[in-house]
Structure formats: structure tokens, C-alpha cells
Amino acid sequence: MHESGKTLNNTRRIVLTGLFTACAFAVNIAESAFPMPLPGVKLGLANAVALCALVLLGAKEAFIVTLLRVFLSWLASGNVFSLACSLGGAVPAVAVMSLLYGKLSDDLSMPWISVAGAWAFNAGQIAVVSYIVKDLRIAFYILPLLVAGTAAGWATGLLAQSVCKKLGGKINEDIDRQ
């Protein structure tokens, strides 16, 4: 929509991706300061940022934002098992959300796409955790996680939707999608 050349456009994308990454990292750190009733239960605000990146920039950028955010958090915690746990949750979540948004965005509204991402997050994370501690029965812990994940996913999806509307226009228009 702008007359700007491709180089400027690329620069703009890189800057926006960096901004989203910084934002995701910041909310990730901030929300880890809030005590949660059960381990593994969290609001997942970083996933909301990834969903915004997915809608406003594209699937590739959403993956970049998520991967960079996970590795930045790893620098903060420094534990390789925590890294595996974060990756095991965040990567399936972004993959599912990208797929659903890419294929079914006419049929699914953002809160439900976010809920599906939360489910993928819970499933991936519990799989990684039960593999790391070598105990399959941990997998039953997915039930309380799914309950919390559905609520949290819905809330963050709603948040992401309103952010995308503010940034991208009335119909979730892309601010910079190729």
C-alpha cells in the first residue's frame, strides 16, 4: 500500500519482528513473576504476542518471534531441560495456530485459534516433561492443564484480537503481510 521499495519494506518487517520479540520476552518474564496455583499453569501472554505476529506479519515471523523468545528466556533461566520444556510447548502451539489461521481463518475466530494453540502447548509440554523424567503417568496431569489452558487461551486470543484490530484495522488487516 506504500510506494516504498522492497528494501524499506524488509527493514520494516525486521524491525517489527524485533519489536514483537522484545514484547514477547518482556511479557514472558513479567508473567513468570506471578504465582500460579498449579505448576505449568500460566496465562501465556507470550503466545498472544506470537498470535499477533502471525496475524499482522505472517507465519514465518510468528515462528521467529517464538523461537527467539524461548532462547532469550533460556538465557535468563539457563537450564537445558527448561529450554526443552518451553520449546516442546511453544513450537507446536505456533505450528497449530499458523496452520489454523492459514487454512481456516474464515471459519475460526482468533480466541478459538488461540485455544487450539493452548491445547497444542499443553500436549507438547506434557509430552516433553514425561519424556525428561521418564514417567508416562505424568501425562494425566494434562487434564488440569487443559482446563486452565482453554480459559487462558481464550483470554489471550481475545486480547490478541483487539490488539490486531487496533494495529491493523477493523478487519484484522495486515499491517505488513506479504
Binding site: 504465582p35 505448576p39 471459519d107 475460526l108 475466530s109 516433561v129 523424567v133
Partner: protein, 126 residues
């Protein structure tokens, strides 16, 4: 509401109903039977402690750090650890056979088993 939204809402509703049914069918907490707390690090069982009422505190050193586990007649809990997230401590005391508390950074698992050696699959803490 879009078509896919309705499908997703239906899946969520069905899942919620199934979980509610599972919660209702769950038996009363059985602390009378003989239970053991197991401490597992990296897939290896390090300690097996009978939950027979005598309080015990065990300090476990893992390659990544330490955890202190307290057991008594009611259950077992991780009461202290030097891991960055502390989720094993937030899990609180676990009592039912089949439940566990995980310290992921240390690859440590604390789980309750009953006398048969297996946790009942129905028992999940929420």
C-alpha cells in the same frame, strides 16, 4: 459465531462434561492403604520411603542442584530446591497414588505409589 467456533465450543463442552464425570466418579481419598513415596532422578529410583507416619526429610543432590523432600503419614512434598522455577514446591503435598511432583530443571520426580506398586490411573490432582 463462525462455523468452526461452534465446532470448537462443542469439543470444549464435551471435554468439560467428560472431566466433570471423571471428577464425580473419583473415589474418596484413600490414605489408609500402604503407600510409598518414590524419588526418581533421570529415570533412576533413588529412594523409596514408606508413608507410615514418621516424618522424614531427605536431601537429594542432583547434577543440577538439590531438592529437599519431606514425607509424613499424609503424603510427600518438595519443601525446598535451588531450581529457578520452583514448580516442584508449588505442587504442594501429594497424597494420592499415581500423583507426582516434578522438578524439571533437576529431572527429579517425586511420586506416590500404593502397595501394588502401581498408581491408580484415575487419580490426578487438580
Amino acid at each position: 459465531m463462525k462455523r468452526g467456533d461452534r465446532i470448537m465450543a462443542l469439543i470444549t463442552g464435551a471435554g468439560a462434561l467428560m472431566m466433570a464425570a471423571g471428577l464425580l466418579m473419583r473415589g474418596p481419598e484413600n490414605t489408609a492403604s500402604a503407600r510409598t513415596a518414590e524419588i526418581v532422578v533421570g529415570g533412576q529410583v533413588l529412594h523409596q520411603i514408606a508413608l507410615n507416619g514418621r516424618p522424614r526429610e531427605i536431601r537429594v543432590e542432583t547434577p543440577e542442584g538439590f531438592n529437599i523432600i519431606k514425607t509424613d503419614g499424609r503424603g510427600a512434598a518438595v519443601i525446598s530446591a535451588d531450581c529457578p522455577d520452583g514448580s516442584c514446591i508449588r505442587m504442594g503435598r501429594i497424597t494420592r497414588p499415581g500423583t507426582s511432583a516434578v522438578c524439571l530443571p533437576h529431572r527429579l520426580l517425586l511420586r506416590i505409589r500404593d502397595k501394588r506398586g502401581n498408581g491408580e490411573v484415575d487419580s490426578v490432582t487438580w
